[in-house]
């Protein structure tokens, strides 16, 4: 049955529920050929199909079920170092050619019907998706997923005190992508990300505290069924209980011990972004000409990779069709390399690292982190805490941000004073403030308990799935904002 026109002035989206397979080759080659014939030095087409579901449980009810699906394409055209990018929901040949024409026009190029402009056709399809075709069907159905969430909120009720609100949330994001470029790149993949979280708001008179935990994985269809809801709820309730009556931390400069797992968010935000070639292009990283030079304490080795099994930032290929790598960014304090995508390589000379990533077809890929972590060191966590006379232990970190000149700012969700090498009373309202350039040399001790945690990273090419991580680390001095 043909679709009737609902949007007249805009290209109509044409959704085929069929997978992206070899039948797309002629259409893609026609687009790439047309782009090259017009004078583009490189043309790339990114096709995407998505299927999302979000669930919310509050108290002991499912209160929101939000399915969403869609298809789209992003077409990027390079002329030398310049590029134009157009996204569309219309995947018809005409729709793609219209988008290509717009992208060409941005670079002062006009469509040309003759020739292939040096385009020699797409290479053999590298099909990372072939073994993943059954993943979507293997994910838990609504019945199982809602039951697991309600189990989580019920466990909060079991383990919590002074509870005012309990929430559980689950998101499943399935994405099929196909990348075709005029350099012959032709690849396909299926990605599956699932995350589940619990949140609790506790209140006792004027005292209030809220705590949340989120767990995420990739490429494991049945992961929700194996989620340890009991452990999640127990940890969350203990944290909320500790923070409910906590005093505000006193502002000042302290030695700080940051816990493992999500403590790595500071390295991700404050340093990792500065090692992306997008920052080199903008001129906003202080490390642009520091490869081979010390930028951190000798205790620090930092890695970004896309290979860890099941980790939230792992990929079979990046959004430019390149297989991910394991990249040592900093080794014993020495800057080794930057993360680079296709445009980054073109404009900065840093070789691609399989780090070209984007939220969706509506964004051009950019150099972005995957699983980023500080490597384990030789110490025990107790060694780190024992070395601090008076300081702060940050057991759980919240979100934060980095300003355009490199200052960072992170909220501490669960903190404790350290007094004479021992953990003391809980404190709230702490914010860690500093600059990567100044703080990296002060990371003087790394423990032996590296762990990763799932997260989301928002930047120039949208919000993407990442992993942050570290062992316990000690920062000799950092400004702590408080009251």
């Amino acid at each position: 049955m043909p679709a009737l026109p609902l949007v007249a002035s805009l290209p109509l989206p044409v959704v085929s529920l069929d997978p992206f397979d070899l039948s797309w080759r002629p259409r893609l080659e026609a687009v790439l050929s047309a782009g090259c014939a017009a004078g583009a030095t490189l043309v790339e087409v990114f096709l995407e199909s998505t299927d999302h579901i979000g669930l919310l449980a509050e108290q002991d009810r499912i209160t929101n079920v939000s399915p969403a699906f869609g298809k789209g394409a992003g077409i990027r055209v390079f002329r030398g170092e310049r590029d134009g990018f157009v996204s569309t929901n219309d995947l018809s040949k005409r729709g793609l050619l219209t988008a290509l024409e717009q992208a060409l026009g941005m670079l002062g190029l006009e469509p040309c019907s003759a020739g292939r402009g040096g385009f020699e056709g797409l290479a053999h399809l590298r099909d990372h998706a072939a073994a993943k075709a059954g993943w979507l069907a293997a994910c838990p159905g609504l019945g199982d997923a809602t039951a697991r969430l309600l189990e989580g909120t019920a466990l909060l009720e079991c383990h919590g005190q002074h509870l005012q609100a309990r929430r559980g949330s689950y998101a499943r994001d399935w994405q099929e992508v196909m990348v075709a470029a005029s350099d012959g790149t032709f690849a396909r993949d299926i990605r599956l990300h699932q995350s589940v979280g619990l949140n609790a708001l506790v209140a006792d008179g004027e005292h209030r505290a809220s705590q949340g935990r989120r767990y995420g994985s990739t490429d494991r269809p049945d992961d929700l069924l194996h989620w340890d809801a009991e452990a999640s709820a127990t940890e969350l309730c203990a944290s909320a209980r500790a923070m409910l009556h906590a005093d505000y931390v006193e502002a000042g400069s302290y030695p700080v011990v940051l816990a493992n797992r999500f403590g790595g968010v500071i390295f991700h935000e404050a340093c990792g972004h500065l090692l992306e070639t997008t920052q080199v292009e903008r001129g906003t990283t202080p490390f642009a000409d520091q490869v081979g030079s010390p930028i951190a304490h000798g205790a620090v080795t930092a890695i970004d990779e896309g290979l860890s099994t099941g980790a939230f930032g792992s990929l079979s290929m990046d959004d430019e069709g390149m297989e991910p790598q394991r990249n040592v960014l900093i080794e014993n304090g020495i800057l080794k390399r930057f993360l680079s995508d296709r445009a980054g390589e073109l404009r900065t000379g840093h070789a691609r690292t399989g780090s070209g990533r984007r939220q969706s077809h509506a964004f051009a890929a950019a150099s972005r982190m995957r699983n980023t972590f500080i490597a384990a060191g030789p110490h025990s966590p107790a060694d780190l805490i024992g070395s601090v006379e008076r300081g702060l232990y940050c057991k759980s970190m919240g979100g934060g941000s980095v300003g355009p000149t490199g200052q960072f700012n992170f909220a501490v969700e669960e903190g404790y004073l350290i007094e004479n090498g021992q953990l003391g009373k809980p404190v709230k309202g702490a914010t860690l403030i500093g600059e990567a350039k100044e703080v990296l040399p002060r990371i003087s001790m790394c423990a032996n308990d590296l762990e990763l945690a799932a997260g989301f990273c928002g930047s120039v090419s949208g919000s993407i799935f990442v992993t942050v991580g570290q062992p316990h680390i000690k920062v000799d001095a950092i400004t702590v904002g408080g009251r």
Partner: protein
């Protein structure tokens, strides 16, 4: 398997065709046995440019479409599905998905159609502007960047910049015959410059402008403001940690109130995550000379909508008057729970979100507060120009905040930029600790507000 195009037919009609969409939905719903449904749809075309030291950095174009359908099943439970696919196949799949989701609808809190979904709408004065060519956008931004770079030798780059334009349309329809439709054209310009002097840290600041079309943007004003702000931060010094009286710029105070808007949000109240409770209406929330209204229809609100996600008309609503909490923001469902009318602040969903439109903050009709306040003659006062990291530093359900800011310390009437610092406090204490307002209210992208003086807040300097 072959790739096939479903039919794409041309039509001279511009934008979304509401009646065709309604007819399509009606037919598909009937096939699936769905009697009650509503829908929100939107489509847009965007073009945007960024530049880097005279060269085009990124040129982008996008055609987007999206639709959210909501259906009620035989038990009266609600399910939704969203998609970017407006073809018949996509709509059919969306309806089926919504029907499946409705089996998990919340029987305790089921939305229904807004009783105001067919009420008359205010007419908005929103000129529609044709988009200009992307190369024209590029030339404008290149010139703006060149001008900004020439304003001071220390301004070396404008690392964050963009000029964008959008033509958009949105629709609300329901099976009872409601039909809302609005078209809009908007444009935006942002320029954030980076300046650095020898041996000193880089400094950054900028400005934003919105308009109904690229040709209507106040480009010169944006350049002037970005240059002035950036240059004003070149001479900086650390600040001692301590408590200071603070003057919030209109933008900063609107950001702070916006971050704590769950105080006024009936959905948050019902969910138990607001500092307010059902019985808080009528309580003294702030100093008696503070008024806060939500007015999405204000002429200064570029991109205003005349109806919300449920089709309810948008109108001006008093949230705080004379310091007293007057009304909450409502969707249809929360309004029903409170026994009042929806206020035009709803999204569209199985659980409907509620949010502010555009805030007006000031003394309202109330008198009081310190008079003659002048930050340019102050001493020992922190002037907060802009707040950052609100997503991380605001604990809305607890009332506390700890936020990095850009600003100046004023001593003896002289303002000197603060190197780096955070401001921390409790929103309830802020609202009851207002000293007064300075100067006329300023129109910003987020609302209308004058400079606001607040009693001593905790400032942590990063030295």
């Amino acid at each position: 398997m072959t790739v096939t195009d479903t039919a794409i037919l041309e039509s001279p009609v511009q934008g979304l065709d509401a009646s065709k969409l309604a007819g399509q939905l009606e037919r598909l719903a009937a096939e699936l046995g769905i009697r009650r449904w509503d829908l929100g749809a939107a489509c847009s075309t965007d073009t945007s440019v960024q530049v880097d030291r005279g060269e085009p950095k990124q040129l982008k174009g996008a055609q987007r479409s999206s639709i959210t359908v909501r259906v009620w099943n035989a038990d009266g439970l609600v399910g939704i599905t969203s998609t970017s696919d407006l073809s018949a196949a996509g709509l059919a799949r969306a309806l089926a998905g919504a029907q499946e989701a409705s089996a998990y609808g919340n029987a305790d809190d089921t939305p229904t159609f807004s009783p105001l979904a067919t009420a008359p709408l205010e007419t908005l004065d929103q000129p529609l502007r044709e988009p200009v060519g992307i190369l024209s956008l590029l030339a404008t931004l290149q010139e703006a960047e060149r001008d900004l770079l020439s304003r001071h030798v220390a301004i070396s780059t404008v690392p964050y910049n963009g000029l964008a334009q959008r033509s958009s349309e949105r629709i609300y329809l329901n099976s009872d015959g409601a039909c809302r439709q609005q078209r809009l054209s908007t444009a935006s310009l942002y320029l954030y410059a980076r300046a650095e002097e020898a041996g000193r840290k880089p400094r950054s600041s900028g400005a934003v402008r919105l308009a109904y079309g690229a040709g209507l943007l106040d480009v010169a004003g944006c350049i002037d403001e970005a240059a002035e702000r950036t240059i004003s931060h070149l001479d900086y010094a650390p600040i001692d940690t301590g408590r200071y009286p603070c003057v919030f710029s209109p933008e900063a105070f609107l950001d702070l109130i916006g971050a704590f808007s769950s105080l006024f949000n009936a959905r948050s109240v019902l969910d138990g995550v607001s500092l307010s409770q059902r019985e808080s209406i009528g309580e003294q929330l702030a100093v008696p000379f503070l008024s806060i209204h939500d007015n999405g229809l204000h002429p200064g609100n570029i991109g205003a909508s005349s109806f919300d996600g449920e089709g309810t008309p948008v109108h001006r609503l008093a949230l705080v008057d004379g310091g007293v909490l007057k009304h909450f923001l409502h969707s249809e469902a929360t309004a029903r729970a409170f026994g009042v009318a929806p206020t035009g602040h709803a999204g569209l969903g199985a659980k409907v979100s509620v949010g502010t439109n555009w805030l007006e903050i000031g003394p309202g009709d109330s008198a009081g507060g310190a008079s003659g306040l002048d930050r340019h003659k102050a001493d020992g006062v922190v002037w907060i120009e802009s707040l950052s990291a609100l997503h991380a530093g605001v604990k809305a359900s607890q009332g506390s905040f700890s936020l990095p800011f850009d600003g100046w310390l004023i001593q003896g009437g002289e303002a000197r930029s603060i190197e780096a610092a955070t401001v921390a406090g409790d929103i309830r204490a802020v609202l009851k600790g207002l000293i007064g307002f300075e100067g006329p209210a300023k129109i910003t992208p987020d609302g209308l507000c004058p400079h606001v003086w607040v009693e001593g807040l905790s400032i942590t300097g990063d030295a």
